[in-house]
């Protein structure tokens, strides 16, 4: 693993899971809404789209809901949660001395290949997350804890999709 020697080790997964569970519970307990990520990115994107081409936004039903007319796509709790997530990651990274410009990849591929893969994988993730009406955080974690049938079916599908193709991509990671 390409980490600085001074980087502190990651938290024990069960401890991290317990803390994450408490954060998730508190999010539900206080706000009723749970956690999420892709929705915030979606609204940030629509905000930019609306600056560039507001007529287009007003013509596409899916975008209209967020930024049609004088609706402000940033006027949503999820945007603030998403911005907070980035800051939280930075704070924790600084505390653990893990902030470093680097590319994590398997030893057999170049940085360029890894970046290309990351972009393609990200595009699939972004597309799939909107189709499924939520990502691993919003559907999986939050919906899973709330016992939604759709969220559990979704979670199995994510793991199934990744495990099904893991063999073909082994060279990229190992």
């Amino acid at each position: 693993m390409s980490q600085q020697s001074s980087a502190r080790p990651y938290m024990n997964p069960y401890l991290a899971g317990t803390v994450l569970g408490l954060v998730l519970f508190l999010a539900f307990f206080i706000t009723g809404s749970g956690l999420g990520a892709s929705g915030g990115l979606n609204r940030l994107l629509v905000y930019v789209q609306n600056l560039i081409n507001p007529e287009h936004v007003d013509q596409v039903a899916y975008l209209l809901k967020m930024a049609g007319g004088n609706a402000n796509p940033l006027d949503s709790w999820i945007v603030f949660l998403t911005v907070g997530t980035v800051f939280g990651g930075l704070i924790s990274g600084l505390m653990g001395r893990r902030v470093k410009f680097e590319t994590n990849k398997g030893p057999q591929i170049s940085n360029g290949t890894r970046w290309f893969m990351a972009f393609i994988g990200g595009a699939l993730m972004g597309y799939g997350a909107r189709l499924a009406r939520g990502c691993t955080s919003g559907q999986g974690l939050s919906g899973g804890a709330g016992l939604s049938v759709g969220s559990w079916a979704f979670m199995f599908a994510v793991f199934a999709g990744a495990y099904a193709l893991a063999y073909f991509f082994r060279k990229f990671w190992n």
Binding site: E102, G134, L141
Partner: protein
């Protein structure tokens, strides 16, 4: 009634309430980063059984949060009806999940984890975030081409206990035990794949697992509150409103709002179908009293400016329905004063009212005879307010909706 979740926008104001979400986001990001989720290699290792961190963190979080949610709901502190449970769209969810799984193994992140990867300078995470934005952009542009599929297999707020016809406590308990068992298995798998002895678990892990099981059992034993329990919790305040007639609105007030484009009136006609067929208000939904509780879930999804008005022949059935819906935390519900009979008395033509009045009727019976099933085609189903003098004591006060209309990835 359960105090939590809090009506944040009411308490702090619209924009200031977002501070709370930002703080939750910070805690979320810190946890994801500490768990190692900023590192794509560590995330991908899950799918080669080398490091099952993703599974362990995710399912520990799910069972901890789930147990606490249903425990606090059982204790009456948290209102589960006001908790966002993603509505099920089964097939779009599954297909989207599969696409995401493929994206996960190719890209090495999911949207949440890529944000903390980006925050800690991981270049692959930055590329991934650009990819996510591109994917979302493509989705926005293409979804209208298959909107039918995107909105298909909708099942509403549908939960595992409803699917398996078991109690919430039972399902929570089974999931907790199953997840703990899978943790034991994943420790063995990791040791085998990496060809090393099993890692020693921290000393607190067994007591913590035991404590979680105990909490799940407590939630199971207490059980989730029934509609009757929920009513008892609010009966003091709510019965007073009924007794002081604060929630019984005059026919004229209902008629006014039926013609107000800023308010969506949803008349809930709780009579049996035979009455409903004889006469009902235009746009009324027939929800016989026995199915009112079942319907409550669906009604939570109505727009925030919806005002529900329950109605029966007089007020008996409508008041029962009001109690049931109030206990289920539905906002903005009122009772039609005097029921359908009072409505007809006010708005049916005088000739009709005199000829067809039934004398010596029983309580909650229709006071008028209809020669045919007129439904909402009867002139009194939607009187024209412009020709009427609408005088009433206003009672409707629009309260902010507390059940989240979006959640998770909103």
């Amino acid at each position: 009634m359960a105090t939590f979740p809090l009506p944040l926008a009411d308490l702090l104001g619209h924009w200031s309430s977002y501070v709370v979400y930002a703080l939750i986001g910070i805690a979320f990001g810190m946890t994801l980063e500490s768990a190692g989720f900023g590192n794509s290699k560590l995330l991908a290792a899950q799918f080669y059984f080398k490091d099952m961190r993703v599974f362990k963190v995710m399912f520990t979080a799910i069972i901890v949060a789930m147990t606490l949610i249903f425990l606090s709901s059982a204790l009456g502190i948290l209102d589960y009806n006001l908790i966002w449970v993603p509505p099920t769209y089964l097939w779009p969810g599954i297909v989207g999940g599969l696409v995401m799984g493929v994206g996960f193994i190719i890209g090495g992140f999911c949207p949440g984890t890529s944000l903390v990867g980006l925050a800690t300078g991981k270049l692959d995470a930055i590329m991934f975030v650009f990819g996510v934005l591109f994917g979302i952009y493509l989705f926005g542009e293409s979804v209208s081409a298959y909107a039918v599929f995107f909105d298909s297999s909708y099942m509403g707020r549908f939960t595992l206990p409803e699917l398996f016809n078991a109690s919430y406590g039972t399902v929570v308990f089974i999931i907790v035990v199953a997840a703990l068992a899978l943790f034991v298995v994943s420790e063995k798998v990791e040791a085998k794949v990496n060809n090393r002895p099993q890692q020693k678990l921290p000393a607190w892990s067994k007591p913590a697992a035991g404590a979680l099981i105990v909490l799940a059992i407590v939630a199971l034993v207490i059980g989730q509150p029934s509609n009757e329990d929920r009513w008892q919790a609010i009966a003091g305040e709510s019965q007073a409103k009924l007794d002081q007639r604060e929630v019984q609105i005059a026919p004229a007030e209902l008629l006014k709002y039926m013609n107000d484009s800023k308010i969506k009136i949803m008349p809930l006609d709780v009579r049996e179908e035979r009455y409903f067929n004889q006469f009902h208000l235009r746009g009324a939904l027939n929800v016989p009293l026995r199915s009112v509780q079942e319907k409550a879930e669906e009604l939570q999804f109505e727009l925030a400016n919806t005002v529900f008005v329950t109605m029966s022949n007089d007020e008996v059935g409508a008041t029962e329905a009001w109690k049931i819906l109030k206990a289920e935390s539905l906002p903005n519900i009122y009772v039609l004063e005097g029921g359908i009979n009072a409505w007809l008395e006010t708005y049916a033509a005088d000739s009709f009212a005199e000829q067809d009045r039934i004398s010596g009727r029983q309580p909650d019976q229709l006071a008028y005879k209809f020669k045919a099933a007129t439904g909402s085609r009867h002139p009194a189903a939607e009187p024209n307010p412009n020709f009427l003098d609408l005088k009433f004591e206003p009672k409707v006060i629009l309260e902010l909706k507390r059940a989240p209309v979006s959640g998770g990835c909103g």
